[in-house]
Amino acid sequence: MTFALAVDCGLVVLVLGMAIWTIAARTTFPAVAGFVAYGLLLTLVWMRLAAPDVALTEAAIGGGLTGVLLLGATSRLRATAQSAAAERPSAPFRLIVAGLCTLISAAIAAVVLLLPDPAPTLAPEAGAKLSLTGVGNAVTAVLLAYRALDTLLESAVLLLALVGVWSLAPDRFWGGAPRSLALRYRDGSLSLLGQVLPPIGIVLGVYIVWVGADAPGGKFQGATIIAAMWVLTMMAGLQNPPELGRAWVRLILVAGAAFFLAAGIAGFWLAGAFLAYPPGFAKPLIVAIEAALTLSVAATLGLLVAGPSARPVRT
């Protein structure tokens, strides 16, 4: 396995190099470029850690969506970037901070080296009950059966974050559309990409959600791909962000969490506990909840990128 270790070493060097670049770059745009590369590289690291589900999430969110969000902010904050550069903290202060951060890294590294052997694991427990859920992918089973409450709360957190972003709009714009994401100038190749890529991307997103029950994949990963394709059409200028006050927008956003909650409450009667699935129906219920959540999560992620309302409601 010497070649494998060499590949791992190379990956670690690359990831660390990108991280140092991201922290040390003088201006913001190269730093964010480094961060996107860092996210895409971490996908490979997650594959080496035998965690394809996480690799999918990292590829979709870590590199893609977060990068786009940060890039948008970068271009809008260019004017303030120069004036703030003067307030750099003094060299002694930076030195002290560097020393403390090194200590923290060293402490974590020591913990990594002293991790107990054999490692404690819940894998056998997760695997033992897998047949009861009807789902083949243990990570999906954890997310939607064993720890379904966490996932329900997570979809609520996403909505809360969106409400937080929306509440940053000035009062007179409430319920209006976010600022346009489109490129300022017409570009034929971008229009082409915006028309050809989303159909393929949506098929891939739905496929990732669908195979998530038995293979690496799942709703968050699939939903992120769908959200990215939606944002791509908006960046290509093929459509504008919707008005946030529209009833259908609100309905799509809450549909997933509401359906999840309803299925959970129905569990009181049908299976005797909150979020318990009746025997034999676990798989169809999980698939149905995933479908509803996918739509809501995709809409929420896309609108998080689009940001708060920036113009009054059209009447």
Binding site: V13, V36, V68, L71, L232
Partner: protein
């Protein structure tokens, strides 16, 4: 197929994956240094091709499930990020009506 042939093939694919990764590293260093923003826009594209080549090779070498699905996702999101790079770099600082001028 005899076991040692399979093992040798896995080693070979791993070695090529490492090699491709090294070329990606070289390219990344060059691309991120600029000087123009347009150079930096190539970073996600570089990882979109080199990264998925390494990923596919790793997947074939170690028989990881889902490697191809991850590669497909990486391709789509790398293209998406590239578009955002072009948009982010080619726009002047803000001119939003409700945000009166630069800070």
């Amino acid at each position: 197929m005899p076991a040692e042939v399979i093992a040798a093939m896995a080693e070979f694919l791993l070695a090529v994956a490492g090699f491709v990764l090294a070329t990606v590293a070289l390219g990344l260093v060059r691309v991120l240094r600029g000087p123009a923003d347009a150079d930096r826009m190539m970073a996600p594209q570089l990882l979109g091709t080199g990264g998925i080549a390494a990923l596919l090779l790793l997947g074939a070498a170690t028989g990881m499930p889902g490697a191809i699905d991850v590669a497909l996702t990486l391709t789509l999101l790398a293209a998406f990020a590239s578009v955002a790079f072009v948009k982010g770099a080619s726009e002047p600082a803000d001119s939003d009506p409700n945000e009166g001028g630069g800070g």
